[in-house]
Symmetry: C2
Subunit: 372 residues, 2 copies
């Protein structure tokens, strides 16, 4: 059965530590979810994600899997967990964000969104109900409702119109979810929208309270707005959400932003940053970013990060990783992704520990000082 157990709340900041109980294991929060868009985290084998990174939950993308290999194929093969040999929890997005990124290839109306596949141009439609059905076929532990994700900046009028439609869609989706998937084995989160307008975010969040949802996501951020704005929207929204339900900010963030979101009451995050940056040769460390192609690492026998327990740091020098990167070797991407995911999940483990020990304000202060 899906449930959320709140274990501790930082009285100064509102940062929370808890556990998501899912049909595929417990997930300690706050949590960062590695992204496995096409039923694999890019460059990382499922077993390494399990044994090395020790991720308890990953995110996979409904839009991509709907198009290829198709959710019915995955259902027939026993669901996404079995398909990708991932025994732990999976969160799927609704496909909304990807579809709205298609720009020229889509058309929105009250029923849903018409779009053309970026792979072959085939026309498809996502409705609030159909995206639930697709996620049910995948066997997701935590599903998202279809939402409309606006570009930044948007006018207040456009944002209100869009937010109101997102609310209507969420109500339809949730009704459908209660009927086809509401047996308590999984969860479904509506996604608060409202662009960068606090009043719209508040209206949206309040509407969603009526759904008594399993958890709540905050979407429409990380679309190019200034960082303070993302933080403000998160703070405004999170303040209105029920304390006993998990809160998920979608698509964030940089390492130094993770504690900031947690300080605003967020329990869950996901982002392609650690894996994408890894492939591009950007490695995150406690001491800052290592840009591996730089000549200074040519003969450097030190690991990417001293004391890091990941396989890359335990076994290889910066010089070796630089060599693999320059040589265009796939194993670079694998090692770099293992490292960056280790870094992200270590940050989240540190944050959680700090909250449980009542030391999160100190942790946050130290992080802010080292970042500035």
């Amino acid at each position: 059965m899906f449930s959320f157990e709140l274990q501790a709340v930082c009285p100064e900041t509102g940062a929370r530590a808890g556990i998501l109980h899912t049909a595929h294991g417990d997930v300690e929060t706050p949590v960062f979810m590695p992204v496995g868009t096409q039923a694999t985290v890019k460059g990382v084998l499922a077993r390494d994600l399990l044994n090395d990174v020790d991720a308890k939950i990953i995110l996979s993308n409904t839009y991509h899997l709907f198009l290829r290999p198709g959710h019915e194929t995955i259902r027939k093969l026993g669901g996404l967990h079995k398909f990708m040999a991932w025994p732990r929890a999976i969160l799927t997005d609704s496909g909304g964000f990807q579809v709205f990124s298609l720009d020229q290839l889509r058309k929105v109306n009250e029923q849903g969104v018409l779009f053309r596949s970026h792979l072959n141009g085939d026309p498809h439609m996502f409705t609030p109900e159909s995206t639930i059905d697709v996620q049910m076929a995948l066997g997701s532990d935590i599903m998202m409702v279809l939402d409309e994700c606006l570009a930044y900046p948007s006018s207040h009028e456009a944002a209100r119109f869009s937010m109101e439609r997102t609310v209507r869609w969420a109500c339809s989706a949730y009704e459908h979810y209660r009927r086809v998937g509401g047996d308590g084995m999984r969860a479904c989160f509506p996604i608060v929208q409202g662009s960068m307008f606090a009043d719209l975010r508040r209206i949206c969040a309040e509407k969603f309270l009526e759904l008594d949802a399993d958890g709540y996501a905050i979407g429409g951020l990380s679309v190019g707005e200034p960082r303070e704005m993302s933080m403000e929207m998160t703070e405004v929204t999170a303040a209105l959400l029920p304390k006993d339900k998990p809160r998920y900010v979608m698509g964030v963030g940089m390492p130094d932003e993770l504690p900031e979101y947690v300080a605003r009451g967020i329990d869950m995050m996901d982002c392609v940053l650690p894996s994408r940056n890894a492939r591009n040769g950007y490695l995150f460390t406690r001491q800052g970013r290592v840009i591996i192609k730089q000549t200074q690492y040519k003969d450097d026998p030190a690991p990417v990060e001293d004391g890091c327990p990941c396989y890359a740091c335990r076994s290889f020098s910066r010089a070796y990783l630089r060599h693999l990167f320059l040589a265009g070797e796939m194993t670079f991407s694998t090692l770099a992704t293992l490292h960056n995911l280790q870094r992200y999940l270590d940050i989240m483990r540190d944050i959680r520990q700090a909250i449980l020990l009542g030391k999160f304000p100190d942790y946050l202060k130290a992080r802010r000082q080292s970042a500035s």
Copy 2:
């Protein structure tokens, strides 16, 4: 100390089982060596090569490492084993084959071969002595002497001229090796050339006997000649080589060719085929080749090969691997390479077992029947 222990010889065919004792562990022969051109097997982490594939020796390419990151860099960092976190044996080629593949970018004279880097056009020279020095800097367990590798077909005259130069180079290289690396901790093999002319191969092999080398390689095959010709050249050459030294045919072969080379007295082989074919979606199985992109595998829940102990076959369906391949995911290459290397090494383990049990002729017969 490097040595070769002959354990069994098949009386009918001359197939041999033995052990290469190296400073980095024992290598049971006959052996297939996975290729790690640029200090990594493409797509496969060193630990997986160790724990999954259980390779006891791999090959790395002198030419590539000389150019990037440079052998002096690798020496400074503690040698190739440490650089790539590979604790077992490493064989390095002399760079000759790669340089002779450059075609427009090289010029051969009696001293050696002048060439331009395929990376940046910089001019370099390989001499018989310098390629030993480079391999010593890498810390190779089994080094190769510089040889001239002719295109196929070549005239008898050109082949004789080239073979005689290869012999002179080998003598210079071996003299240098005895001086700088002949402490018994490693090995150095001359490479028998002679194009597709049995008489030249014989002359070359006989000349090399005078070197009393640690082992002998057969080069200049797999350059486009018919398969019967490669086999004939191997047979003719191997028959002349001393029984107590290991014999290595360079750059072969397809799965059904492996026992054929062994039947001709060969102990060691290497080839990019299992890894390159893997990346291209060609998977070797006992039942033949699986071309993973084929539509027939779209919903196929079976593993690539029933009963195969590799991680890919233990964990994933053909449908999943096909999906990863079509989606262009790196994890496909990793899984497919793990499988193909497993297949190759399993074949070699089966062959060795058959020789030790005195059943190699039966094994060979069965393999020939299933291949035809």
